[in-house]
């Protein structure tokens, strides 16, 4: 099971956090900090797996991560997941984001948190993988966007938009 999915930048600023187990808000923030601390001090080109921090269950859980430009994508998983499989999953997630946002960059994640959550929800649900086929995911996201477009146009009122 995937316990949590975290995205933060090179300075540890969270860009997405999704926990599939309940923690208090405080603990969630601490987990993000702890994870950043563990992951960011590692050299490039070392292996992509390490034992989880104490807060998220220590050696029972693994952190599997990839570092893309300014962002770290970290999946915290238990022993029932294949490490390499999760690496592929991260890749699928990033490629999907890239397709949806056209050359995704950190700013897209900042300004479209809700969209990123939606895309993730098409891949992972309740900590388990829902779909790994990128085209299928994008089809779903597209359909949602179409619905959204048709609605925006009806009720947007830019005057009072502040």
């Amino acid at each position: 099971m995937i316990k949590a999915i975290l995205i933060f930048n090179n300075h540890g600023k969270p860009r997405l956090s999704k926990f599939y187990e309940h923690y208090s808000e405080d603990t969630e923030q601490q987990i993000i900090r702890e994870t950043f601390h563990l992951v960011s001090k590692r050299d490039e080109n070392v292996c992509n797996f390490l034992e989880g921090g104490m807060l998220i269950g220590g050696s029972e859980n693994k952190l599997i991560y990839r570092h893309y430009a300014t962002l770290y994508f970290v999946f915290c998983v238990d022993s029932s997941e294949s490490e390499l499989g999760i690496l592929d999953l991260i890749q699928v997630f990033v490629e999907t984001l890239d397709k949806c946002f056209e050359n995704v960059c950190e700013l897209d994640l900042i300004f479209h948190v809700d969209k990123v959550h939606n895309i993730l929800a098409e891949m992972v649900m309740g900590g388990m993988v829902l779909e790994t086929n990128m085209n299928e995911i994008i089809t779903q996201v597209d359909a949602q966007n179409k619905m959204e477009k048709s609605e925006t146009f009806i009720f947007q009122s830019p005057r009072q938009d502040r």
């Binding site: 860009r15 292996c47 592929d88 959550h117 649900m125 597209d142 966007n145 959204e148 477009k149 009072q160």
Partner: protein, 926 residues
């Protein structure tokens, strides 16, 4: 067209985010956020009804603020309102907010459930998916109660869209994990299993997670999935790289699904049906063959996906542990990976080999890689990988290579990362003990450990070496000689001083014949370290000195002089001062015979599981030390509480309590904490010291020990022991209190008062005598506070005052009730009002041994119901509490989680105060 165009979206939100990003300081950011929160709050509270768009925008802002780590305590209602909107965007934001922010706020859950119910029956697949996602994200019990019946129907219905099926499968899985008792598969089982055959690979992907979880819990009901999984796997493995179209990932057909299928098969033993087994073996061989083929792409994703399947296949081969041919091939494959240039593969190969090492077919094959693994330990750049290498060395160690492996690990320790040193030390200590042929090698190894990594040598390790030296007389002389030599080093670690002090104190006489290590030389050597040591070590050394006086009468004068010096006898530390005073007195008053008895050599320790092993298990979880288990050492007494470690050198003096007071430092004092046996003698010697007046505060810890038992010692100090015997029937009880005078002096004016009435006791308690008091108890109604017992007496001149809670708790009035599963669940459901339930989630503070748990639950007074909970790990109990006023039925469920070392305890009864009280009491017992 990109799926998300960058221009659209909410301008107000974008502006707000930009503002935050432009903030120069944390303070400015907080100020801006507070301003926004105030704005949103006033908007939500305002009279003007907000349109959907504004609500959505504000909820989005709240989400963003939440992500930055600020608490959000409002907006929930607005989010719930968005759920009932007909517009997709509004509904979707509402659900998003709830998934991220709501955990189980009971009032809201009902509203949310309503909205979900509407969406599930809307037949709009998008809305249905949103609703299913929400259930999966929140996963609370109320939701399970509301939807556990509905979702399997959606999952297997013929007309459900594929995307909805996928969501329904995972939603059901989530509910099953959270509340397995509510998800009753029964009639759905076979249709769910057949989802493995579904046309749509996405459906299979989602369903397989569900099936894997259900199979691992109910293997028999789901065993038809094995043949289906094998045929699905075989179809994928044998397909050309383009057959599966979109599910082909970098030229590998459906890698994720393949991994999951192989995982599912690991829930079962090898298939019995020959044809199925043949097909599976063929698959596994194909996978192993493919690893040797040239890659179809240079991209790392291609090899990743391919190897993900390969590693799962190897795991399955290891799990079956029955095909020597495949095992050896797997081992060779992993051997290749050990030297692969990809760090990830080296890491995984080391990890898989660890499990392979415990198979009898492949243990020898794994051992051939020892040089590579040692090399990895020395040269890998990544500490995660080095750690796996150390794990593997530990796993592949046996009698033939123990010396080499221990030597390598020791030399690695000198440069090892701080983060793994302690674990390495434990492993070296265990291997050294386990494979020690001659114990001098063992002693050398442990002393080396202390020399190299003294800071990381935990108490368990040096206790263990002392236990072993004491138990084996063939090594005692060698140990004494070796520690003596080790102590000669100008700077030696404090742990070395401890071991040295202990061993010389016991066995210094074995080397005293040599003039180079004569008694006085030994003493001077130890004492030269004294001033550099911490208080506990100094205390230990003082005990060693008094042992010296017994071993070598010629050192008496020197040692007495040391004890008499101001720095000892007037030491500001109470413990040291007390030891100095008492040892000095002991050495000058007691006759040689008494001294020899009191300071006799330590008796051998009972043989038992090494405490180090227990520690390593605690550190790593049970999996990591599997090697140990095959040796037939059951992990029966894993609870460290029972381990006594090394008792005080002056063990004859210390209390016999098993409270693990390892060096007698925590008890009041080694001497005045007199045990009943040796007590009289020593109290005579030190009677002028006089024990301090007993504390007047209410003593609580005895109380909690009696929740699950009726007899035992309620209280004990230096003077008085109070034993208790009690029996209960219905709402009546009788309790016998035994007051034992542990001293040789009588207690005068002895009186006890209870805040309910009692018969009086004899006012005099003779020295060494015991008086008895009977208390009759009737339970009128349920209660929380226990009766207080106040005991007053005079001992010598001093008035003693002790307050105790009598261990009368509500559960004593339980009548066990046996019932069948159906009755239990019916009653459980009847007691479903929130106030009737009390629940606690807490960490295990003792071992989680099944028998102990059962004994405790029976001790509680309830009936332990077997075969009721679908999960055999859980316990359910039922009972009726009898009070004069009424009877209170009570149901209990205890769910241990051995992995997390946690429990969840749920109590339901017809009376809220009872649920709460029993829950509170019982939660302290585990």
């Amino acid at each position: 067209m990109p799926a998300v165009s960058k221009g659209d979206g909410m301008r107000g939100l974008a502006v707000f985010i930009s503002d935050i990003r432009n903030c120069k300081s944390k303070e400015a950011e907080i100020k801006r956020i507070n301003k926004e929160l105030a704005n949103i709050r006033s908007k939500f509270k305002g009279d003007k009804a907000l349109d959907g768009y504004s609500k959505k925008k504000y909820v989005c802002k709240l989400l963003f603020i939440f992500l930055l780590g600020h608490d959000i305590d409002f907006g929930h209602m607005e989010a719930v309102n968005l759920l009932s909107s007909n517009k997709y965007t509004e509904k979707q934001i509402g659900y998003l907010f709830i998934s991220v922010l709501v955990n189980s706020n009971s009032e809201l859950i009902r509203l949310i459930n309503n909205a979900i119910k509407n969406d599930l029956s809307s037949r709009n697949p998008t809305f249905m998916c949103l609703a299913l996602h929400c259930i999966a994200n929140v996963g609370s019990r109320e939701m399970a109660e509301a939807f556990a019946g509905e979702i399997p129907r959606i999952l297997v219905a013929g007309d459900t869209m594929d995307s909805v099926k996928q969501s329904a499968a995972l939603c059901l899985l989530r509910l099953y994990k959270a509340s397995p008792d509510l998800v009753l598969m029964g009639e759905w089982t076979s249709r769910v299993v057949h989802l493995l055959n579904d046309q749509h690979m996405g459906v299979v992907t989602a369903a397989i997670s569900l099936i894997t979880c259900l199979s691992s819990k109910n293997p028999d009901e789901f065993k038809t999935c094995v043949s289906l999984a094998v045929s699905r796997l075989s179809r994928i493995v044998s397909s050309a790289s383009t057959d599966l179209q979109d599910y082909t990932y970098y030229f590998v057909p459906a890698p994720w699904l393949s991994c999951k299928l192989l995982r599912l098969l690991q829930c079962y033993p090898p298939p019995e049906d020959g044809a199925v087994k043949g097909r599976l073996v063929e698959c596994l061989e194909t996978i192993l063959n493919k690893a040797q083929e040239p890659p179809k792409s240079k991209k790392v994703q291609h090899s990743n996906a391919k190897n993900a399947i390969l590693f799962e296949a190897i795991s399955l081969i290891i799990h079956y542990d029955s095909e020597p041919n495949l095992l050896v091939r797997a081992c060779n494959q992993l051997g290749q990976f050990l030297q692969h240039r990809e760090t990830n593969l080296r890491y995984l190969a080391l990890e898989s080999m660890c499990t392979l090492a415990s198979s009898e077919f492949s243990h020898e094959a794994v051992k051939t890689h020892i040089e590579t693994v040692i090399n990895a330990l020395k040269t890998e750049r990544d500490v995660s990988v080095r750690q796996r290498a150390a794990d593997l060395l530990y796993a592949m160690c046996d009698r033939s290579n123990a010396k080499q492996i221990v030597a390598e690990m020791l030399s690695y320790l000198e440069t090892a990362d701080y983060s793994i040193r302690e674990e390495m030390v434990l492993k070296v200590a265990i291997l050294a003990e386990k494979y020690a042929v001659d114990y001098s090698w063992y002693v050398d190894t442990i002393l080396n450990l202390i020399r190299i990594a003294g800071d990381y040598v935990s108490e368990e390790v040096w206790y263990r070496v002392i236990q072993i030296v004491i138990n084996r007389d063939d090594v005692q002389g060698y140990a004494a000689k070796t520690v003596f030599e080790a102590l000669q080093a100008p700077a030696c670690h404090e742990n070395m001083v401890k071991v040295g002090g202990y061993i010389l104190g016991e066995f210094g006489n074995l080397i005293a014949g040599d003039p180079r290590s004569s008694p006085l030389v030994q003493f001077n050597l130890l004492h030269s370290k004294f001033h550099l040591c911490s208080v506990p070590t100094r205390a230990l050394l003082l005990s060693a000195y008094i042992k010296f006086i017994n071993l070598f009468p010629e050192t008496k004068a020197t040692i007495q002089e040391v004890l008499r010096s101001d720095s000892q006898i007037r030491n500001s530390d109470v413990e040291l001062q007390q030891r100095a005073v008492e040892y000095l007195k002991l050495s000058s008053i007691a006759s040689t015979d008494v001294l020899a008895t009191v300071l006799e050599e330590m008796p051998p320790f009972p043989e038992r599981e090494s405490s180090i092993l227990a520690k390593l298990k605690k550190k790593k979880g049970p999996g990591a030390v599997s090697v140990e288990l095959e040796d037939g050492k059951e992990r029966g007494e894993l609870n460290g509480g029972g381990d006594r470690g090394v008792p005080d050198l002056t063990n004859a003096l210390s209390t016999p309590s098993p409270s693990a007071d390892l060096l007698g430092l925590r008890s009041a004092a080694p001497v005045s904490g007199a045990a009943p046996s040796a007590g009289s003698l020593l109290v005579d010697v030190f009677s002028e010291a006089g024990p301090a007046a007993a504390s007047a505060g209410v003593n609580d810890d005895g109380f909690l020990r009696f929740v699950c038992k009726n007899n035992g010692v309620l209280f004990e100090n230096q003077l008085l022991q109070i034993g208790i015997k009690s029996e209960y029937r219905q709402n009546l009880g009788r309790m016998y209190l035994f007051y034992g005078n542990k001293t040789s002096v009588q207690f005068v004016s002895f009186s006890t008062t209870l805040n309910v009435q009692t018969k009086t006791v004899e006012p005099l308690v003779e020295g060494g005598a015991q008086v008895q008091q009977v208390i009759n108890i009737e339970c009128l109604t349920d209660f929380v506070d226990a009766p207080l017992l106040n005991i007053k007496f005079r001992y010598g001149g001093a008035l003693q005052n002790i307050s105790l809670k009598l261990p009368v708790t509500i559960n004593k009035f339980f009548q066990p009730t046996e019932m069948a599963a159906a009755d239990f669940f019916q009653r459980w459901k009847q007691l479903s009002q929130p106030q009737q339930e009390a629940q606690k989630i807490f960490k295990a503070s003792h071992g989680m041994d099944t028998e102990v748990l059962k004994a405790k639950l029976l001790g509680l007074g309830t009936a332990l119901l077997e075969n009721v909970d679908p999960n055999p790990e859980n316990y359910v109990c039922a009972g009726v509490i009898q009070t004069k006023a009424q009877q209170v039925g009570c149901l209990l469920r205890l769910e241990p989680n051995a992995q997390a070392q946690m429990y969840r305890l749920t109590l339901r009864s017809s009376k809220d105060t009872v649920s709460q009280r029993v829950c509170d009491l019982l939660a302290e017992q585990f």
